[in-house]
């Protein structure tokens, strides 16, 4: 497989992420971030 081709695609993909004005997607350690999952309990008590 042409690794340069894939690296260039990755660069384009990450540039699209960067240019979208959204924060970088963070893997919250206390957050089930898979789209159809949800397991975090939010404590609003404070």
């Amino acid at each position: 497989m042409d690794t340069k081709y894939i690296d260039e695609l990755k660069r384009q993909y990450e540039e699209q992420n960067y240019n979208s004005n959204l924060s970088e997607f963070i893997h919250y350690t206390d957050y089930t971030d898979y789209g159809d999952l949800y397991s975090e309990y939010y404590d609003y008590s404070d």
């Binding site: 993909y13 699209q16 959204l22 957050y31 089930t32 159809d36 949800y38 397991s39 309990y41 939010y42």
Partner: protein, 366 residues
């Protein structure tokens, strides 16, 4: 040891004790469970490249694997603990979580998501009383869980009743539309799919109710995540640019980019036939997926004002609605219809100097 995080969905079995009419993951093949050997090989490769792995135990029904399986998993994780931190999450229908299971999950810090549709069997989900019992057992054991509810034609008119029920029980919930794949395509199950127009209308009415509820004590998604998106904060894989950040291993050790697209054209390799996770991202199939995702996002960026919020959306959604380069499909239209409404509503409050009554929303407003 690497410095990166990754989320890994592990589909431990194809078996499930329920037969939900809308299940996107349904199959009728003979039960096949994952082997500890395959899991260990995965952990070994992850430990060589990543410092944190969010492991999402999935199925089928992952609880069917039994506690001995997960005890062995925890032993394996301890074996690699010098190189990588594992964060365990499990998505279950909850029906098999008795007090012993609840204690086990809480004691070992599994973060639990339970599928529950508000209690009405007509929604296509059976044994919901048992799901709630499982959730209650988690509470008694000192734990918590979140709820995933599938919105379909049988409960679309009851969203606010469901919300009040969840609020009373202090259950954070995510409301999902029916994914157009698997069992929902069979016969009359198609009738469970709500039209775009009705879905948007009912969800927006639900949002208005939630936004103005001064007694709200729970997080509701997608509303919360959409408010965060409007502020530039991205918390969900569907808007997160998921490639390179997620992989899925199924019950026979095959690797895919996502748990929703277990399809031959997205097969990246078997865990016993690769030497690194990185290698999976240099396969022809991954390159084709990446190219198509870039193409779709370019198209979205040129044609849709909401691209700045969704980053071209979810690859799996596009695939399920036709093909990976498709935009303007059901999921796009629903996203636009709801986030546009939320944007207008929040602007109205902000510009009018009106305070937001919902305390859970006030806390996340910058």
């Amino acid at each position: 040891m690497g410095e990166k995080n990754i989320s890994v969905i592990i589909k431990v079995t194809n078996a499930c004790n329920l037969k939900c009419r809308y299940c996107y993951d349904a199959n009728n093949s003979e039960r096949k469970d994952i082997t500890l050997r395959d899991v260990e090989r995965l952990f070994e490769l992850l430990a060589a490249e990543y410092s944190v792995a969010n492991v999402i135990w999935h199925g089928g029904e992952p609880i069917l694997m039994g506690k001995d399986f997960y005890c062995a998993i925890l032993d394996l994780q301890r074996k690699y603990a010098d190189d990588i931190t594992f964060v365990n999450k499990i998505q279950t229908n909850g029906t098999l979580i008795d007090s012993e299971w609840a204690s086990f999950l809480v004691r070992n810090d599994f973060r639990v998501g339970v599928s529950y549709d508000g209690g009405d069997a007509a929604t296509g989900r059976n044994q919901q009383d048992k799901s709630l019992e499982g959730r209650n057992n988690l509470l008694k054991a000192g734990g918590q869980c979140g709820i995933v509810s599938v919105v379909n034609t049988q409960n679309i008119d009851n969203l606010i009743t469901m919300y009040e029920n969840y609020k009373e029980k202090q259950m954070n919930a995510q409301f999902n539309f029916v994914f157009p794949y698997g069992r929902v395509l069979e016969g009359s199950n198609k009738d469970l799919v709500v039209s775009e127009k009705v879905y948007i209308e009912k969800m927006n009415l639900f949002f208005d109710y939630w936004l103005e509820d001064e007694k709200c004590n729970i997080r509701i998604d997608p509303f919360t995540s959409y408010i965060q998106l409007l502020q530039g904060i991205n918390t969900k894989c569907v808007t997160g640019g998921c490639l390179y950040k997620f992989i899925c291993m199924d019950n026979i050790g095959d690797i895919y980019p996502c748990g929703r697209i277990i399809m031959p054209q997205f097969y990246l390799g078997n865990i016993n036939q690769v030497n690194s996770i990185k290698e999976l991202f240099y396969t022809e199939r991954f390159a084709a997926l990446l190219q198509s995702a870039v193409n779709r996002r370019n198209k979205c960026a040129q044609t849709c004002a909401y691209y700045r919020y969704c980053r071209g959306g979810c690859n799996s959604d596009a695939i399920m609605y036709g093909n990976i380069e498709l935009n303007n499909h059901y999921a796009c239209n629903v996203f636009r219809g709801i986030i546009n409404h939320i944007d207008l509503k929040m602007s109205h409050y902000r510009n009018g100097g009106i305070s937001i009554q919902n305390p859970c929303v006030s806390k996340i407003i910058k």
